[in-house]
Symmetry: C2
Subunit: 245 residues, 2 copies
């Protein structure tokens, strides 16, 4: 009983949430609750769906393949998240996993894989990314869930870039110190662009730096791996312009 009470289970669901609302859980969630976490009908669980805030709920029915919960009370109202995109060139699996998990923890609203000439892994498994995003959102207590986009070519992303969204580019070749530049910016929307481990090809770099919305930023004198640069840039954005203030 002690273990049960101490381990809070927080699940992302599709259904609408509201007082007394019955919520169908997925087959995977039924399995997780019953067979992994040893929950039974009557136990508590926390639910969110990205739209209706966070709710305390109770398991009404829990079978091997199906489960239903019932909302009891709203714990937190829905609040808008950051308008912060991450454009990333897919790297090898272990480091890509880090990028996805940390982007969710750090409040990214959209994950956009971009294919570049030096991209290590051309075939991005969008369904796998989406599953990682769900799990990380449950874990980090977000109320929103980032969108996982299908991969696009970097050149296509740049050619249709929104006029009002700065593209923050961590440039090893130099740029303004990132923190001071972010603190001097205006606006709520932004995107962070991180290149592949091998760096951008010269013509890609040219296309990125030629975009008027691009802001070249420096992350210090050491060479950062792609996932470190992602975390550092998202941290600075949240601290300087986002919801860490």
């Amino acid at each position: 009983m002690a273990a049960k009470a101490n381990t809070k289970i927080r699940l992302l669901v599709d259904a609408a949430l509201g007082a007394e609302a019955p919520v169908a859980l997925s087959r995977e969630q039924a399995h997780y609750l019953r067979d992994v976490m040893r929950r039974t009908a009557g136990d508590g669980v926390i639910l969110f769906n990205g739209r209706d805030g966070e709710w305390r709920a109770e398991l009404a029915e829990l079978e091997r393949k199906t489960a239903t919960a019932r909302c009891i009370e709203q714990l937190r109202p829905q609040a808008p998240g950051s308008d912060l995109w991450l454009l990333f060139a897919p790297v090898k699996k272990a480091r890509l996993d880090i990028i996805v998990e940390k982007a969710v923890e750090l409040g990214v609203s959209r994950l956009q894989p971009v294919i570049t000439r030096h991209t290590d892994v051309e075939r991005v498994k969008t369904a796998r990314l989406a599953a990682q995003v769900r799990e990380a959102a449950e874990q980090c207590e977000r109320l929103t869930v980032p969108d996982v986009m299908d991969p696009v070519a970097l050149t296509d992303a740049l050619s249709s870039w929104p006029a009002e969204r700065p593209l923050l580019f961590a440039d090893e070749a130099g740029g303004a110190p990132a923190l001071a530049a972010l603190q001097g910016m205006a606006g709520e929307a932004a995107a962070v662009l991180i290149g592949p481990e091998g760096g951008f090809a010269p013509e890609e770099r040219q296309a990125v730096t030629a975009l008027p919305q691009t802001v070249r930023l420096s992350l210090g004198p050491r060479i950062l791996r792609a996932e470190t640069a992602v975390i550092a840039m998202l941290t600075l954005w949240q601290a300087a312009r986002g919801d860490w203030r």
Copy 2:
């Protein structure tokens, strides 16, 4: 030849570095250069030792178990690094590996494992940490190498804490927004303290917050994993007070 020319090899050595100085490489380095990277005598390599700057060198002799290089010219003079310690409760292996690698990339000068009541892994392999630190220092182009300390009990670390070194504590229970607090501080020395995944025990938390040098800082509204909190706090310190300015 193209692969050779494009792949820069940067090695941390023990020997003194200076014009024309012969430098004995380790048995592991000889194996790496000869059998993994297919180098031969006459090929170039970059050397640093944490004291004499960074040098371009040439392989003078390269056998299966021994290798010698000869310094040719200094590429960068030695420069002092940040005076920034990281105190971390060891977590599970995969996430501990991330913490160590990122701490090196982000300029930490001392890695201090601390044992807490909720520490997952009590037996910290200091030799393994030191090897990871060397590899990360080679990779990220640092000129200095962080010290890897033997684990100490958190209570012992706190009871002998240096008077002039702020202890930055990422506190999920609340604290000042980290960036503004760091920008308002003075002094060059600091330490970052990150607790175990299960959090500090109440009496440990009490001991940390009672220390006059402790600065409680908030890293935003979401729950960050230990390694994310490490990277975020080190990023903010370098950006606000360190060598990213």
